[in-house]
């Protein structure tokens, strides 16, 4: 009997953390429209941790939020000095690198996440790059992988903001993620993880849709779907604009 109770206790202990705490979250906007005056955007991601019973004591809780842009194929090139000038020489093709990746956490990522959990969930930037969508990036090109992260971080496309998730009363959490102006269109996967002592307790996933609208949408579509019409229209509009600007100037001048 005692053995049965002990077994039950062990069983309950092992499954409690999974079911006892649950993430409930929302975004300030789940649709971002790129219009003519688009200059980047900030989205607020907020939520709460739902509990059936008081939170476990003595464990370190963390909230990690990631936003992953549409994956695309890129070529990474390295410059070398040839005949006195710097030219592109070696290159590595990468299939399915995220066009944008932001990771925010309530405490430093190294404490919030064990390496094993990172391997499983692909959370840190370096891990996310080697995620399932990632094609030919092999381990023998670590220099190129580092470069991809470094260049995109400088461009504001990749970034990790440790400590940027605010948690109140171990229940409410919120963070803002800044999206730059040169966003790729598509679906931005947003994941929220709740961890205790580095292990993922619960996760929540949603998407943000980024889309060009209005004139931007129309011009982009026309350029790609009917390039001949677009080319002629560009010429016509440019000639008309130049002509009328000159006419207006003559009118004002004399």
């Amino acid at each position: 009997m005692t053995r049965l109770v002990a077994l039950l206790a062990v069983f309950l202990l092992s499954i409690w953390p999974v079911t006892a705490e649950e993430i409930v979250a929302d975004l300030s906007q789940d649709r971002i429209s790129i219009s003519t005056n688009f200059d980047g955007s900030e989205i607020l991601i907020f939520g709460a941790i739902k509990r059936d019973q008081p939170q476990p004591v003595g464990t370190r809780m963390a909230v990690i939020i990631t936003v992953t842009g549409p994956r695309e194929d890129v070529t990474i090139r390295r410059k070398e000095r040839r005949l006195g000038i710097w030219v592109n020489t070696d290159s590595v093709d990468v299939a399915g690198a995220p066009s944008f990746y932001a990771v925010a956490s309530s405490i430093p990522l190294a404490q919030a996440l064990s390496p094993e959990a990172d391997d499983q969930w692909h959370i840190s930037t370096a891990r996310a790059l080697r995620g399932p969508g990632m094609g030919t990036m092999s381990d023998d090109e670590p220099e190129f992988l580092d470069a991809l992260i470094r260049v995109n971080t400088t461009a504001g496309l990749y970034g990790s903001a440790e400590g940027s998730v605010a948690v109140r009363d171990a229940t409410l959490f919120s963070t803002t993620v800044a999206l730059p102006s040169d966003l790729v269109e598509g679906s931005y996967a947003t994941r929220i993880f709740l961890t205790r002592d580095g292990e993922v307790i619960d996760s929540f996933a949603t998407s943000i849709y980024v889309q060009k609208i209005g004139m931007e949408r129309w011009i982009y579509n026309l350029a790609h779907e009917q390039p001949v019409v677009y080319g002629l229209l560009s010429l016509f509009i440019a000639i008309a604009a130049g002509w009328s600007a000159a006419a207006v100037f003559r009118f004002v001048r004399f």
Partner: protein, 307 residues
């Protein structure tokens, strides 16, 4: 006011673009040059992707040359037959140039090609102009008699076949040299996003021996069709013509050109030329330094996983 460019896919300040257009417009009005060779490198520097800058600049040149061509046609200072011959060469050249551009884009060498072309041409032309205008100033100070312009002997050109009479220019020469000049300018138009007037005008005067009064009109006539053709090729093969960017640059450019023309009238020709030469050399120097100095970031990332 930030404006999002739909094809370049970057957000830039609209007033910066209008200002750049205006600045280059003033210069082109002052010096009577197209300004493409200054605008394209400036667009690189504010972060427009080179492929978009080159294609859009071609579009802009068509528009900014349009009123000039009409004015010259009205004054009958266009040698239409010569224009057509130059144009045929130009169209072939532009088609070749866009092919080369696309192949090198795949190899990741297009930036290098465009920048090398700029350094080479801006360097040579800037230096020649600088020396020539320095000499002119020195001579005008010495008040000596004007030197006789020695025109090059065109013996080898007279030996070429397929001679045609160009009535407006008063020439009877082979079609091969103008075809080659046109071809060369067409390649430059496609690769560098320039009209090529700065190459074509000297070539027409010194190589073909055309009278100066028809040179500008005829070169504009050729440029407008070649750049229109290059625009269409870039638009249909690379999708890199940005309509919004072109219109903003153009509006600034047209207004700037009107102002520039009025400034230009008040300045001495030698001073103007020396200023232009210095400016050309400055742009050339900046581009050359980019190629020669070790970049702070050796890696670059391009979309599309080929090559």
């Amino acid at each position: 006011m930030q404006i999002y460019l739909p094809i370049a896919e970057v957000s830039v300040n609209a007033f910066l673009l209008l200002g750049l257009g205006g600045l280059v417009g003033i210069l082109s009005g002052m010096f009577g040059v197209g300004g493409g060779f200054l605008m394209t490198p400036l667009l690189f520097m504010i972060g427009i992707p080179p492929a978009v800058a080159v294609a859009t600049e071609a579009n802009q040149i068509v528009a900014s040359s349009f009123s000039g061509v009409l004015a010259h046609l009205k004054r009958k200072t266009v040698d239409l037959r010569m224009g057509v011959v130059l144009l045929i060469g130009g169209l072939i050249g532009a088609a070749l140039g866009v092919q080369v551009f696309n192949i090198l884009r795949g190899l990741g060498q297009v930036d290098l090609l465009v920048k090398l072309c700029y350094v080479l041409f801006l360097g040579v032309i800037g230096a020649l102009m600088f020396i020539e205008s320095l000499n002119a100033i020195r001579k005008s100070r010495a008040k000596g008699p004007a030197p006789k312009i020695v025109r090059r002997q065109r013996g080898w050109m007279d030996a070429l076949p397929f001679k045609i009479k160009f009535r407006t220019s008063g020439l009877y020469i082979s079609v091969i040299p103008p075809l080659v000049v046109g071809l060369f300018v067409g390649i430059l138009a496609a690769i560098m996003g320039v009209g090529g007037g700065f190459i074509m005008v000297p070539a027409m005067i010194y190589l073909l021996g055309m009278p100066t009064k028809v040179v500008v009109g005829t070169s504009l006539f050729q440029i407008i069709f070649v750049t229109a053709f290059a625009t269409m090729l870039h638009a249909t093969t690379n999708y890199t013509v940005d309509m919004v960017l072109a219109v903003l640059l153009l509006v600034g450019g047209v207004v700037g050109a009107q102002i520039g023309t009025r400034i230009g009238v008040k300045m001495k020709a030698e001073q103007l030329r020396i200023l232009l030469a210095l400016m050309v050399l400055a742009v050339c120097g900046k581009l050359a330094l980019d190629l020669l100095l070790e970049p702070s970031e050796l890696f670059s990332i391009a979309q599309g996983g080929h090559g």
